[in-house]
Symmetry: C2
Subunit: 536 residues, 2 copies
């Protein structure tokens, strides 16, 4: 293989600069997020859809078979929907042969399901030693193979009825182990089909955690078999729900794409929708000495509630979700209702915490964490930053989810890691906050390790999550508003620090990636004045 | 008919307030935009899809036949997509009979195409004198009949396999004659199918002007037969275009819905994409004494350009578009390039306007207006406010389009009308400016006549337009981002002043309307945490 550090794609002509007005010129055949190491060559091979196939050496499993079938469809859509890139490839490289086969070499047995810190390394080699293209995707884990397949699919450059692929060697792995995207299915219901579409896009951007904020004040779409009244009385309607079969379908769909599903059941606040289905759970608010008929956060002084939580989370972690982790929420607890309730007041006096409602919150969280610590599967957990901020005693391996401060979360990241806790960052990646104009630069300029702290502290940063809260999104605008803005976060979390320092350099690559996703059939929105072949 | 001023729909139960958290409760069977006069009755009739039909007394024409067929499909979609309202109707009214027929009484011959200030009055009477429902939609013009059909379709309340309709009398007409929505097909191309979808939604909100900002700096998708190079070299690609057949299709689709298509060809600025296809049109910019290779606004001192403009606008107004009006743009002319050009400098010295570039702009606009004044069809025109602001002499019947100042455009509205010009307002209705949160209150609180001025001045306010500039929208997000936010503007422009003073009162009606549009198959976005039957 004649390795040479040349630029893979050289731009030609002004075909994309019509009207005399400079447009963003997309790259051709560049991979998003950027691989850690990529060595292009001065030759290219041609892939013909009719003859191309994936073959498997080494280990095999259902995830692999499903993935190769899936990527054949992604790479070779029906002729009608095939799109040529608007910027032609320069073809300064030499054609050296046809690539009729890519060998997938999984070097260790398949793991059954994705998990935190799973191995996602992979290598790709495309070459043509004897006027015949050869290609290999190899990895120690099925998760690496999945990432490699996505990368390979992005290297194909449509050329008439075939595809060109640069003879490239890639060695790739993620910078961070936790690369998440959070969706909220309480403020608006999101159909299963939309969640799947989002999982497709997550896989195409190498995200590996779908953080599912299932329930909140507004509605309780999650169906619990043990407590069916929660959704029966808490969902918007009896059709706005996720049945056990729906959840299983989502978990399986994600598993096949190397994506963990991290369920969140946020307590003690954000729980209004739990109330009707579980009498006694929420704190009755008082007006003077009489209950007002409204309710506040979970009632921390009702001991029955901890039995309920034990049974509820046991079902969640043993019968519905398969991930080791569960997100326990813990954010934004408002104290007004607790303050109004005379029984709470009496309890606090008795326990010498009168007036200190964050101490009361601590009572609740401490008991909840005790419930979680004794779950059958010994699950790990994440909490929103307030739980740490309020000084609640949390397990050493708790992951603290930092969300406050917008682009100024470095102080909190420093504090959390100084205290020895693992952390993930979302503050700068609240995609629901929309603005007129170009807003992705802020996402790209944000880095989870950009805080004062020791190397040991930085090691505790597991990654981050883009969040799309659901107040103003539903099936009509979720995909367009989330993507490709989440792609920007995906690259920050996957690619090397040095590769993600310039929005200028990212722009033409992001343009190609956006048109790629649009061409694959996903309604991802434009980021600037632009055009794609798939516009029409 | 026993008329009584009762509230048509009374809300029942808490079926929409699950989770104990107050949600916006949609109205049931309320019309958006609100009719000028509506007198509900204490009885209701039932419409059965199998037996219902429209009949015609009075005049008939293709527009009417097309409309009744269209509304049968809108009112009675295939069973699979039928949705019941989530809030049941209270049925405190008495059932009095089946409504098997609505008579359409068009009292004057059909006009061929919609035009400015066309008559849009209509009346609807639903009654049941002899245990048999009777219904009439009557109007002096086909345009009124179209508006009445939309209103009637919104009065149907799904009830099992049939529909309930309150025995209502409505007399309705628009507050303003110019109720427009502007789309920009230059920054991003919008497929014809999306433009049609938008026209559907416009008709469902009683808009009557589609202001089509066809071309701009970024691309020139409009195909001119006389000057084919404009799109050939100025469109994004040879597929990102609107052929004469496409334009005819859009104009006809709009005509059948009582919507005028107002084409805008914005000059002398915003014309970068015109340059490659029409050498000599744009001003060459200079670096020192040599041309820099870049171009500025249309070159006002090249006399050939006025012949070009004459031929170009003649084609536009005689062969492509049928409306009496054309929008001539005239906004945001930047002077930098003119300043750099020595020939321009010499011309200005010669004409004693050295240094005063708005005078030069005035030279251009004056000559352009002379071209327009001599077009074969003697078209009227609109201009953006700068043309007025810069003191250009414009025809007395020019319509000045006010767009600056956001919510503070009243000073400009006062000035324009004081000078005796007709005007339309867009400043507060730039839908492309998005923000996180609830932003429609600002649209609803804005009123085109909210400025200091005499009654005679207010009479010069023809209405307004919602604008969706295209920098950040294309087929993926245009419909969701434009609607139902444009619906808010639609009501401000149609309904009586007194009826549109409270966002609180509008909220449950807007919620019903949004779910209605969603249920009809349009991907219109949510405005707050909510749910619709059509979510799933």
């Amino acid at each position: 293989m004649k390795a040479a550090l040349v630029v893979v794609a050289v731009w030609v002509g002004v075909s994309g600069v019509m009207g005399g007005n400079p447009q963003v010129k997309p790259t051709v055949g560049q991979v998003w997020p950027s691989p850690q190491m990529q060595q292009p060559n001065k030759t290219y091979v041609i892939v013909r859809p009719e003859t191309f196939k994936f073959t498997t050496t080494g280990h095999d499993c259902d995830i692999l078979r499903n993935a190769t079938q899936r990527y054949m469809k992604i790479m070779f859509p029906t002729k009608g929907s095939r799109r040529s890139p608007i910027q032609p490839w320069s073809k300064t490289e030499a054609f050296t042969g046809y690539l009729d086969e890519v060998t997938i070499n999984l070097m260790a047995p398949c793991e059954e399901k994705p998990y935190h810190d799973m191995d996602e390394h992979y290598q790709i080699k495309i070459d043509s030693p004897d006027a015949q293209g050869t290609g290999t995707i190899m990895a120690q884990s099925i998760w690496g193979i999945l990432r490699g397949l996505e990368t390979f699919s992005q290297m194909l450059i449509p050329d008439g009825s075939a595809f060109m692929v640069n003879s490239t060697q890639i060695m790739d792995f993620p910078r961070f182990g936790h690369r998440g995207l959070m969706l909220d299915t309480s403020r608006h219901y999101l159909p299963v089909a939309v969640l799947k579409e989002n999982l497709d896009l997550m896989a195409m951007n190498k995200f590996n955690v779908f953080h599912w904020h299932l329930v909140d004040d507004q509605s309780f779409p999650y169906v619990s078999t043990a407590f069916p009244n929660l959704s029966k009385l808490g969902a918007y309607t009896e059709r706005h729900i996720y049945t056990p079969a729906n959840v299983a379908e989502i978990v399986e769909y994600a598993r096949l794409r190397g994506i963990r599903v991290l369920p969140e059941f946020d307590t003690p606040g954000h729980t209004q929708s739990w109330g009707p289905g579980q009498p006694g759970l929420l704190t009755p608010c008082y007006t003077g000495s009489t209950p007002s008929g409204t309710f506040g956060p979970i009632n921390p002084i009702n001991e029955d509630n901890y039995n309920f939580l034990k049974d509820f989370f046991t079902e969640v972690t043993t019968k519905r979700f398969t991930d080791h982790y569960v997100h326990l929420g813990g954010d934004e607890v408002s104290f007004g209702c607790w303050e109004s309730n005379p029984n709470i007041t009496a309890y606090m006096a008795e326990h010498n915490i009168t007036g200190d409602y964050s101490k009361l919150e601590q009572v609740y969280i401490t008991k909840l964490l005790d419930v979680i610590a004794h779950l059958p599967n010994k699950n790990g957990y994440l909490v929103w930053q307030e739980v740490f901020d309020n000084g609640v005693k949390i397990a050493n391996d708790t992951i603290v989810h930092v969300w406050k401060g917008g682009s100024k979360a470095s102080e909190e990241m420093n504090k959390v890691t100084k205290a020895g806790y693992q952390t993930i960052l979302s503050s700068c990646w609240y995609l629901n906050y929309i603005n007129y104009g170009v807003d992705w630069h802020g996402y790209y300029d944000c880095d989870p390790t950009d805080f004062k702290g020791t190397d040991a502290q930085k090691q505790l940063v597991l990654g981050g999550e883009a969040c799309m809260w659901g107040e103003y999104v539903d099936r009509t605008n979720l995909i367009a508003r989330t993507w490709p803005r989440a792609s920007v976060v995906a690259e920050k979390l996957w690619s090397a620090f040095d590769q993600t320092q310039s929005t200028d350099a990212a722009t033409p690559r992001l343009e190609e990636h956006r048109c790629r996703l649009l061409g694959r059939g996903y309604g991802v929105e434009p980021l600037w004045p632009s055009f794609c072949e798939a516009d029409i």
